[in-house]
Symmetry: C2
Subunit: 192 residues, 2 copies
């Protein structure tokens, strides 16, 4: 992707995380990105185009910060990799906070506005299947639907815990402890 | 509470569920409730007063539709009561849909706006402790912190699943199956 588009999407993620998706206006985005509104329309066509590309952008970014760096150390055991992938979404860093706020806001906006629903469903499914695959490495004899259901629950719980954390009702360390507990509970269920 | 205040709060919940909290304007609320803006300011002082009272209103309403009617039938076993209380939040009825949309929206708005954070934290804690108490009736020998953590997870998962359902990414029957699975997983963990 051209650097200019990336610059615009970075600005869009920042604005959505700061004030929400419903207040996002193209003029404001242009100012935040330091480009003209014309350039934004050239790259993204309309507001829907901006939102869809921003969703993809924050997913790609999450993919990067949750990917365990294989070059850095010894490969992780399947169980550790599963924990790492989920817990890396619960870090109090500017990029995770911004990304999770923007994701939660895009999800919340889809309650009122149908335009992002398919993209959100697709992105969620990819995420669920990624977690189900990691669960399957830990419990290779578990049935695939049980792995998928556990993946759905762990990712939905992560969204719920993130929203509580971001809205000031849950400390990040406690959110991480709760997530570890859920992983234990799901893995125990998959052993039966 | 006076009927007029209730009428205003019903209208506020309806508007928030329909278009979100950030677009809520007092003039619009007055029109929806069929009262004057003066009456709204008289009862709720300002926009923050409206939002705080609406949060309480939707919590009271959820309390009513999740309370298992003891007069109606034989008392439920603890395990059944726990399931009922959680699954009654996942019903495709107008009131549950409206209430859950408004709750999710108030939670999402607290990411950007601090004004509701304490009220949300308080309401969440009451809910977590209610679920922890029901879990304790099923598993009376489990340690209290383990029951509380399970209550936090089950309620956070419910919020996550509700948002997926309301944003069109999850069918309600499947959401209920996932919730039942989580209850099984947590109860198995609490037996150990």
């Amino acid at each position: 992707m051209a650097p200019r588009s990336t610059q615009i999407l970075e600005a869009a993620a920042r604005l959505i995380a700061r004030r929400g998706v419903r207040g996002l206006r193209v003029e404001e985005l242009a100012a935040e990105a330091g480009v003209s509104t014309g350039l934004i329309y050239y790259h993204f066509k309309d507001r829907t185009g901006i939102l869809r590309q921003t969703l993809e952008f924050i997913n790609d970014r999450a993919e990067r910060y949750t990917t365990v760096d294989a070059a850095k150390a010894e490969p992780l055991a399947p169980r550790e990799e599963l924990e790492a992938v989920l817990l890396l979404e619960l870090q109090d860093t500017p990029v995770v906070r911004e990304n999770s706020s923007a994701w939660g806001e895009l999800r919340a906006s889809a309650v009122f506005d149908e335009v992002l629903r398919d993209d959100l469903a697709r992105a969620t499914l990819v995420w669920v299947q990624e977690v189900a695959a990691l669960l399957g490495q830990v419990r290779p004899t578990a049935p695939a639907p049980a792995l998928a259901a556990a993946g759905e629950r762990l990712t939905a719980l992560l969204e719920g815990l993130s929203m509580r954390w971001l809205s000031g009702g849950l400390q990040i360390d406690h959110a991480r402890d709760l997530m570890r507990g859920a992983i234990n509970a799901e893995l125990a269920l998959l052993r039966n």
